[in-house]
């Protein structure tokens, strides 16, 4: 089997401007939704109580809502969770009230209403923990960004490092934009997925940069644009297959992982799709705009060994 029968290098860079424009529009939209709608943060970040209860019969949400409403909570969210029999109740954090007792109060009220309700899960997070988690999340993001930039700058060149990180931060913003637009719940697990995606899609850029460097060495006559086009073309089959495989795993989580892993897998899916796009079309293009050239990557050679020679370096 072979999916990719590409006869000539595809002139990706000729259309770089178009791709960058598309990116910019998506990015702007994502930022717009982030600001206009905001993220629907989970209790882990906002503080509050989350309860998951299960009935033996499909639950009547209105009745549950009414029952919980009588307890005097201000903003209660009641919704189905996974199946019609499972109900998720979200109570906001209340100042002064020992929130740990909220869940008991609610459960007692629900039990009085319908005895066959069982508590599957509760989660209570105090407001101070939520703030901390948000800070830690930002710290982790900063750590990843700085770490990757330093590594790539040392290993390749600062222009690559900058373009890779811009391309992938653009992915992160787009994932967040999706979560803001659809008002999906942004939990700690999603945050982990976002950071994992950041590390993962930098992979992509690394693979292409690696090829660009190699091509600069191998094909002395080629122009920078040609080198980049060739690098992308020759790695595109690997890019698609790898991402396809990772996506298979993620899809399997989306299908079998249940509600808990749903948004985690969702964030990964978006991340993987945009990861391909951004590292192929955005990262390389930014590197090109930044004026990457042969001399940046090939330091004056110590010994001129031709890497295209198959017998060179044939030592195991």
């Amino acid at each position: 089997m072979e999916f990719f029968k590409i006869k000539k290098d595809i002139p990706f860079m000729k259309n770089a401007l178009v791709f960058n424009a598309i990116s910019f529009v998506t990015f702007a939209l994502a930022v717009f939704f982030l600001f206009s709608k905001g993220l629907h943060l989970s209790v882990e970040f906002t503080g509050g109580t989350l309860m998951e209860v299960s009935y033996s019969q499909p639950a009547d949400l209105n009745k549950v809502r009414a029952t919980v409403g009588t307890l005097g909570f201000s903003e209660v969210q009641v919704q189905n969770f996974g199946t019609a029999r499972d109900v998720m109740i979200r109570l906001p954090a209340q100042k002064g009230v020992s929130s740990a007792q909220q869940s008991e109060k609610v459960l007692t009220a629900l039990k009085a209403d319908n005895a066959d309700v069982t508590l599957r899960r509760t989660e209570f997070v105090g407001p101070q923990v939520g703030d901390e988690l948000a800070h830690d999340g930002l710290k982790a993001l900063a750590f990843v960004v700085i770490g990757i930039v330093i590594y790539l700058a040392v290993r390749f060149e600062w222009k690559f490092a900058v373009s890779a990180i811009i391309a992938n931060l653009h992915d992160v913003i787009i994932i967040l934009g999706f979560f803001a637009f659809f008002q999906w719940e942004f939990s700690l697990a999603v945050l982990a997925a976002v950071l994992a995606v950041l590390g993962y899609s930098v992979n992509e850029s690394v693979v292409i940069f690696d090829r660009i460097r190699e091509n600069f060495r191998r094909f002395r006559k080629m122009s920078t644009v040609e080198v980049i086009d060739n690098a992308i073309t020759s790695t595109i089959s690997r890019t698609i297959i790898t991402h396809g495989c990772t996506q298979i795993m993620v899809l399997s989580m989306l299908l079998f992982g249940g509600e808990t892993l749903h948004y985690f897998a969702m964030a990964l899916t978006i991340g993987i799709c945009f990861g391909i796009y951004s590292s192929v079309f955005v990262a390389a293009a930014i590197a090109m705009w930044l004026g990457i050239q042969r001399e940046d990557l090939i330091k004056p050679l110590k010994k001129d060994n031709d890497p295209s020679d198959e017998n060179a370096g044939a030592v195991v």
Binding site: D136, F143, N203
Partner: protein, 624 residues
């Protein structure tokens, strides 16, 4: 050129063997068990207890699969939960004659069914997190400011009585936040105060300032001393929680310090959060009262009627003691209790420190009651117990009390612990709580397992179809990656959570990247007309640099999650990081080994089975 020296194969074989051995315990599942552990600091679970448990089981007619003493607790394994429950009742009856005063904790538990030789190799199954086994998780915040304020408050009183004792006249002592301010009239008294303070309280630092004609001396705890107060407060709270949780009968409670001022409590298997919360938040009180030594009281000790104005309590050894109802002092006045030794007799003693108010009352009471006994009572859940009832030898002033006589070092330690454990050193607040029902836990395991299995199978099927023989090698390498991942997690006894299982799935999805890179590279070399052997060689060699770089960037993200993540994110990060490391070994080193084994020895290799190698000329050549 595609051959491994013997030692490389040896590494692969050894790694595989270790992988299999440490992964194995996860497949045996768990057997129902009854676990007996100590319920009090004074009581040790030993071979005598083991004998008692065995006898109790024999008497009840329940035959366990095994009974063993492991690390301070006895575990008896059973074949069914029916027998487990029967055994628990029997053991409970035999070991705990008085349910109100349990010396042991008898709890239901699950024990790995893996054979003994695996246990001898320290191969144990992965520890399942609360989201997979069900249970309660609490995070408690210790109010350190309150602990410090309490300390400074009692210090204020101490300073006041000290200055009075030393005849230093002052213009007032008051607490101001975490500091104490002393007003002094002239420089002479200021000097005197400073001298006395540095001699008596080495933990304090002072700062003086002129305030008009007067002087103001600001006294505060040195930073080290403040830190010590906080550490002690946290430690004491943990001890207190331990004692209380023992009552819940949880087999493997986790009580850990987190950060400087937080405590995490995890109670696997506990469903009754209300009771757990009640026990965690309970306050015990300490009271000092006089022992009623009248003749009626003596008679009441033997079983007569308790005289008016007195109550009967039991001493820890079980002897009754008649104590007056009037409370002399409460635990609020007790600032510290430490075990120690008497300066002269070298006898084990318990040193109590009282605050100023307590000291004053204590001085009066002891002056009037020399030769009589006083009792220190601990009330928990409205039930009192006499911790100790010493005889007053002389008037005691200054708030430093020594309890001595007929104590071993261990007893002194216990008494001090009980006196301190009576109350929490600092108030605590639950800032995070998670309850997971047992059915949800089992579902989560199934969900995580299904995700990994199906994803894995589809990927392997695809790889075999697309890359033929090389795809099969990649598939085997992926399976080996999973094996190593599980083995290392089991070896580290890391806690597996649902996010951890997600990380496992993701790690496999990402690990295949390395093999795709290699296979694509080999194909490309073939496309460019390289000989099969050379193509394999160049493919692996050239792909390696890329694989390394891309894994490092992924690892950076993993480490960031590990460093800054908490709770579920950390579980994800651990598996993620280990997965990246094992993938480098399995996808590159191990898969190369397999390929070398298969193709390396063939001198005149005409083709390799790596699926279609398409050539742009249009003359599609099937390579196998």
């Amino acid at each position: 050129m595609n051959r491994y020296p013997v030692w490389k194969y040896a590494i692969i074989v050894i790694a595989l063997l270790l992988g299999v051995v440490y992964t194995l315990p996860n497949f045996f599942g768990e057997a129902p068990a009854v676990q007996v552990s100590s319920g009090k600091a004074t009581i040790k679970v030993d071979t005598g207890t083991l004998q008692k448990v065995e006898d109790a089981l024999k008497a009840a007619g329940v035959s366990p699969q095994s009974v063993a003493l492991e690390g301070g607790s006895i575990r008896a394994r059973f074949d069914s939960t029916d027998n487990q429950l029967k055994a628990k009742d029997a053991v409970q009856k035999a070991l705990i004659p008085d349910a109100a005063d349990p010396h042991f904790v008898v709890a239901l538990n699950l024990v790995s069914r893996s054979p003994e030789w695996l246990g001898a190799l320290h191969a144990a199954p992965m520890y399942l997190g609360l989201d997979l086994r069900g249970g309660v998780h609490f995070m408690l915040q210790v109010d350190m400011q309150a602990a410090l304020t309490q300390r400074v408050e009692s210090l204020t009183g101490d300073l006041r009585s000290l200055l009075r004792e030393k005849d230093i006249r002052h213009g007032g002592i008051s607490r101001n936040g975490q500091t104490v301010e002393i007003r002094l009239r002239d420089a002479q008294q200021l000097e005197a105060t400073k001298r006395v303070l540095s001699a008596q309280f080495p933990d304090l630092q002072t700062q003086d300032a002129a305030d008009g004609a007067e002087f103001r001396l600001t006294v505060s705890n040195k930073p080290e001393a403040a830190r010590k107060v906080q550490e002690q407060a946290l430690k004491q709270n943990i001890t207190t929680l331990h004692n209380r949780i023992n009552e819940l009968g949880v087999a493997e409670p986790v009580i850990q310090q987190q950060g400087l001022d937080r405590i995490v409590v995890q109670l696997p298997g506990v469903q009754d959060t209300a009771k757990a919360k009640d026990i965690l938040g309970r306050t015990a009180t300490l009271e000092v009262r006089m022992v009623d030594e009248s003749t009626e009281a003596r008679a009441a000790e033997q079983g007569g009627i308790v005289p008016f104005g007195a109550e009967r309590y039991l001493e820890r050894e079980g002897r009754p003691l008649i104590v007056k109802k009037q409370v002399v002092l409460t635990g609020d006045n007790l600032t510290d209790a430490q075990p120690g030794f008497d300066n002269q007799t070298q006898e084990p003693v318990v040193n109590l420190t009282l605050d100023a108010k307590g000291a004053r009352i204590f001085k009066d009471v002891t002056r009037e009651n020399v030769g009589k006994r006083m009792a220190i009572l601990l009330f928990e859940k409205g039930k009192g117990e006499v911790v100790t009832a010493p005889v007053i030898r002389s008037e005691i002033g200054g708030g430093r009390v020594q309890i001595s006589g007929r104590m071993t070092t261990a007893e002194a330690n216990d008494t001090a612990l009980l006196l301190r454990a009576g109350s929490l050193a600092a108030p605590m607040e639950i800032i995070e709580e998670r309850t997971i029902g047992p059915s949800l836990g089992a579902e989560n395991i199934a969900k995580g397992f299904n995700s990994v299995t199906w994803g894995f199978l589809v990927i392997v099927a695809f790889m075999c179809l697309y890359y033929a023989m090389f795809g099969l090698v990649s598939g085997i390498a992926l399976a080996v990656n999973l094996l190593f991942l599980v083995a290392i997690l089991s070896m580290l006894q890391a806690t597996l959570t649902l996010p951890g299982m997600a990380a496992m799935a993701l790690a496999l999805g990402m690990a295949i990247d390395s093999n795709v890179l290699i296979n694509e590279r080999v194909r490309e070399e073939l496309r460019n007309g390289a000989s099969p052997q050379a193509a394999i060689h160049a493919g692996y060699d050239r792909a390696w640099a890329t694989i390394f770089d891309s894994n490092i960037t992924t690892l950076i993200a993993g480490v960031a999650l590990l460093a800054f993540g908490s709770g579920p994110v950390r579980g994800f990060a651990v598996v993620h990081c280990i997965g990246i490391l094992t993938s480098m070994f399995s996808a590159v080193f191990f898969s190369r080994g397999l390929v070398n084994l298969w193709y390396g020895s063939k001198k005149k290799l005409k083709s390799v089975s790596i699926g279609t190698v398409w050539r742009p000329e249009g003359s599609s050549v099937k390579a196998d």
